[in-house]
């Protein structure tokens, strides 16, 4: 049995030492919000935080993650979608198919922690995940919304929500 600290809890599991962290999260621990896209650290759909550092979990052998390291997945970002990045994503209707968005949100969260007011160049440099639906411009806008205190109206999209608010 091996141990990992995931989303604030110690979890035990059985897997071969070279199993990528991604597959332990998805298959042993049931945390399927983190996605498999390429398996070679190209697309970023598998991005999680390890001690706050955005990490492509598809190429990270689970044996290289110590039980002391804090792993955070999309499920651990908030219990109810209330993290400011998640709220901005929802306010701007960022996702289309949505498959890449867990990784995008984890990458964006790490960027905003490191650089609370990122420039466009910072966003280009940090957000190297792939989205095939082409949501990049709304992702950029959502990151700026968070940087500017969460006022989604800044994006100018005028989206009408079911609770009758407009962002």
């Amino acid at each position: 049995m091996t141990q990992l600290n995931v989303n604030g809890a110690m979890r035990t599991f059985e897997a071969e030492a070279d199993t990528p962290l991604l597959w332990v999260l998805r298959e042993q621990l049931g945390l399927t919000g983190t996605k498999y896209g390429c398996g070679i650290a190209q697309c970023g759909a598998c991005t999680v935080h390890i001690d706050g550092v955005p990490t492509r979990s598809c190429v990270r052998p689970v044996s290289s993650v110590s039980a002391a390291a804090k792993v955070v997945t999309i499920e651990g970002l908030s219990a109810d979608g209330s993290h400011p990045v998640q709220k901005a994503w929802a306010a701007l209707d960022v996702p289309q198919c949505g498959f890449c968005q867990s990784g995008m949100i984890m990458a964006a969260t790490a960027l905003l922690k490191a650089k609370p007011m990122p420039t466009d160049a910072d966003i280009d440099e940090a957000m190297t995940n792939i989205c095939r639906c082409g949501t990049y411009n709304r992702i950029r806008a959502a990151i700026k919304v968070v940087a500017n205190g969460g006022n989604a109206k800044l994006a100018g999209l005028s989206i009408q929500h079911a609770d009758r608010s407009t962002t």
Partner: protein, 735 residues
């Protein structure tokens, strides 16, 4: 009867009461126990939910006034669940804040005489081809709900009105809600005819409403095919013969069979090997340890260079199917004072959905069920029946949200594989997931074509004749050969037809001939978002730009001259040109290009702004995109589709190319098949020109103008006319 086939993630604070039809995928996360309860229909279960009423096939109303709207088309990111629900809800006059959606199953559609119509989700047809009957479904349900209230009050229905799910009878001051009368309404005879609202009176349709499916996509709770978990399920990985048309010769499973978790190593059909294991990672790594020998068949030496020669020959072949013809183009060109001729080409491309192909199947001798993200539920059902040998009535397909589709998931090859695997282990659900490598090399690729365009000009530079000879692959010949008549694949001519919603050409040319010499290399083609409109727009729009420059005409002025009889095409072109600043000075180092086309019932145009450095490094800075889809159902989602279309089209133009060597696709993952990322994404300004009176699609047409607008801007910047894609392989240094 209410059908719950959607896999819903219900967030629960602690222990969840789990119904018979639910099961748990429990996981403990930060802050305590977080339990995900999925509705997953299991074999032979009644799907009815007590006390809820199916008013008609489209509308289910619960006693608490919540409304479930059934959507037959698949959600793959394009927003169809929300857009179609808006149309139903508009006519239903229900409370939008109480609306959810669900998928009816393909099996139920068969059992109920196809009451939900076509499940096929492609060709940007979700709204344009189902708007009429889904709106009528909403209107009929409203009529029945109002009638039920009127019957209860013993008043005339015409004296009652409905708004936001509440029915009132003003004269007596009574009111009730949809939830209270739904059961009675469901027993009424549906009205024979219903009147639909004038779009100018819409309050939900046409509005910038938020999508209904966003929140779960921000929390990781949305369940995709990759994420599905069924009790007792095993996982599978597969390798098909990498050379299309080849077969499995032999395999040695000794090393793989002894690996942890491996249950079976087996042949699938004549062409593949799979491993079934407890986890997918163990299945995948065990499959890598299987030693496989392929019989590569007749295509073992095929290559992209060979395809190029085959297509080149087609450019001059005497035999070709005619797609559009007026006057005598060849004679006019022969008699012309001046001739311009160019040859363009378009490569194979993979859809590269973020979620690789997958399907989960469970087979017993009595019943076969499949859970899969599919763009065509009915085709998936037929494939299930064919693969398992049971009649359709004993099969069912449960659709899951798609992690991208782009046309690839209209095919059911992966469904067939999953069913064949499940048949080897009756009673055990088998989840088959393709590796990215399998997904890249077993695609149904954007067809390769080439095009020779020849224009005859008179002494004043007017086009007297135009011949477009297309040579290359036919998707229909591979996918629906029965639709190829007398050697003609009609969809090859998308955007180039004389008239019609499937893309009429926007130019009047006095003598015109557009024909196609079908040449089908062995790489299987498929419908790839935008389909043949993509390359046809590159060919025609870049060539028109060539003619403009060769005759010292402004590209916009030349187009306007040729488009006088095509006012809708012209209106969007003018809108894009005007907002894009055409004719106004651009910032230093910035150059513009134009393109326009029509497809999927909509008119589109783009004005691109690019810069190209002295070293030939291209930057696409800004795209102004004008679209006329007739009626606009959700403008903010149309903007999202336009932006996404540009990302997809620009990705193809900049990077998209699959090449063939030794009969197989050379690109195996995103390191060799790069796609557009954040840093490449231009600013996109969408100009919505909704002229009304017709219904056009928005998921695809704009893709087609991305590449030609950029290519024309590159010419303006560099003097280089790029006629072959992708741009990553081209020299863009100033000529």
């Amino acid at each position: 009867m209410n059908a719950t086939h959607d896999v819903k993630g219900a967030l629960d604070g602690g222990t969840s009461a789990v119904s018979r039809r639910q099961f748990l995928a429990a996981s403990t996360v930060a802050g305590g126990s977080l339990v995900f309860a999925f509705h997953v229909p299991l074999a032979g279960e009644a799907l009815a939910q007590p006390a809820s009423a199916e008013v008609n096939a489209w509308v289910v109303v619960h006693p608490d006034d919540s409304v479930v709207i059934r959507i037959a088309r698949s959600e793959m990111g394009q927003g169809t669940l929300t857009g179609l629900a808006q149309l139903v809800a508009e006519e239903l006059d229900c409370d939008w804040s109480k609306v959810t959606t669900e998928y009816p199953t393909p099996g139920q559609n068969v059992a109920r005489n196809r009451v939900w119509g076509n499940f096929g989700t492609g060709g940007s047809r979700g709204i344009r081809e189902s708007q009429d009957y889904v709106r009528k479904g909403g209107a009929a349900a409203r009529t029945m709900l109002v009638q039920a209230a009127a019957d209860e009050w013993k008043v005339a229905a015409s004296e009652c009105r409905a708004a936001a799910g509440v029915i009132t009878h003003r004269a007596s001051g009574r009111s009730t809600s949809y939830g209270k009368v739904a059961a009675a309404a469901s027993k009424l005879t549906p009205p024979a005819t219903v009147a639909l609202k004038d779009p100018k009176d819409w309050t939900l349709a046409g509005k910038r409403l938020a999508r209904l499916d966003t929140v779960d996509k921000t929390t990781g709770r949305q369940i995709y095919g990759h994420d599905l978990k069924l009790p007792g399920m095993l996982n599978a990985a597969i390798k098909e013969c990498p050379v299309f048309g080849g077969k499995l010769k032999s395999f040695n499973a000794t090393a793989a069979a002894g690996r942890p978790g491996v249950k079976k190593v087996l042949q699938v059909g004549d062409t593949a090997v799979a491993v079934i294991a407890d986890t997918w990672w163990r299945a995948k790594t065990a499959l890598d340890a299987v030693i496989i020998e392929w019989d590569e068949g007749p295509n073992a030496k095929a290559s992209s260079e060979g395809f190029d020669a085959i297509l080149k020959a087609g450019l001059n072949a005497p035999q070709a199917a005619i797609g559009n013809q007026n006057g005598d183009a060849l004679a006019a060109i022969a008699a012309s004072a001046r001739r311009i001729e160019s040859v363009y080409s378009h490569p194979h491309q993979n859809h590269a959905t973020m979620e690789t192909m997958n399907a989960t199947a469970r087979y017993t001798p009595e019943r076969c069920e499949v859970w899969t993200p599919t763009q065509n539920g009915e085709a998936a059902l037929a494939a299930t029946s064919e693969a398992c040998g049971l009649p359709v009535a004993k099969c069912e397909v449960y659709k899951l949200h798609l992690g991208g589709g782009f046309g690839r998931r209209g095919m059911s090859d992966y469904v067939r594989q999953a069913v064949l695997l499940a048949k080897e282990m009756p009673g055990t659900p088998i989840k088959l997931i393709w590796s990215r490598e399998e997904d890249m090399t077993q695609g149904r690729y954007h067809p390769i074509t080439q095009c020779k365009l020849t224009a005859g000009l008179d002494g004043q530079g007017n086009i007297t004749g135009l011949h477009m000879r297309i040579s290359g692959q036919s998707i229909l010949a591979a996918v629906f050969p029965q639709n190829v008549v007398n050697g003609k694949d009609p969809i090859v001519f998308q955007g180039l037809n004389a008239t019609g919603p499937e893309a009429g050409i926007g130019y009047t040319i006095p003598n015109l001939l557009i024909d196609h010499a079908m040449r089908n290399p062995h790489v299987p083609p498929g419908f790839w978002r935008g389909v043949n409109l993509n390359q046809n727009a590159v060919y025609l729009e870049c060539f028109i730009d060539e003619v403009a420059h060769a005759t010292q005409q402004d590209p916009l002025a030349l187009r306007r001259k040729l488009m006088a009889n095509h006012p809708k095409h012209l209106a969007v072109l003018n809108a894009a040109a005007e907002r894009g600043g055409w004719g106004q000075p651009a910032p230093a180092g910035v150059f513009r290009g134009l393109a326009q086309t029509m497809g999927y019932g909509s008119y589109v145009a783009a004005c691109a702004e690019v810069s190209v450095s002295a070293q030939g490094v291209l930057k696409v800075l800004r795209i102004v995109a004008a679209t006329d889809p007739g009626y606009a159902v959700n403008p903010q989602q149309i903007e999202a589709q336009v932006e996404g279309s540009f990302a997809y089209g620009l990705s193809a133009a900049l990077y998209g190319s699959c090449t063939v060597k030794d009969g197989r696709i050379e690109q195996t993952n995103f390191h060799t098949y790069p796609v557009l990322k954040m840093e490449d994404m231009p600013k996109v300004e969408t100009v919505l020109v909704s002229s009304g009176g017709f219904w056009g699609g928005v998921g695809e047409p704009t893709i087609a103008v991305a590449a030609p607008a950029v290519l024309n801007a590159i010419f303006a910047a560099t003097g280089r006319r790029i006629r072959d894609l992708p741009l990553k392989d081209q020299n863009l240094k100033r000529a």
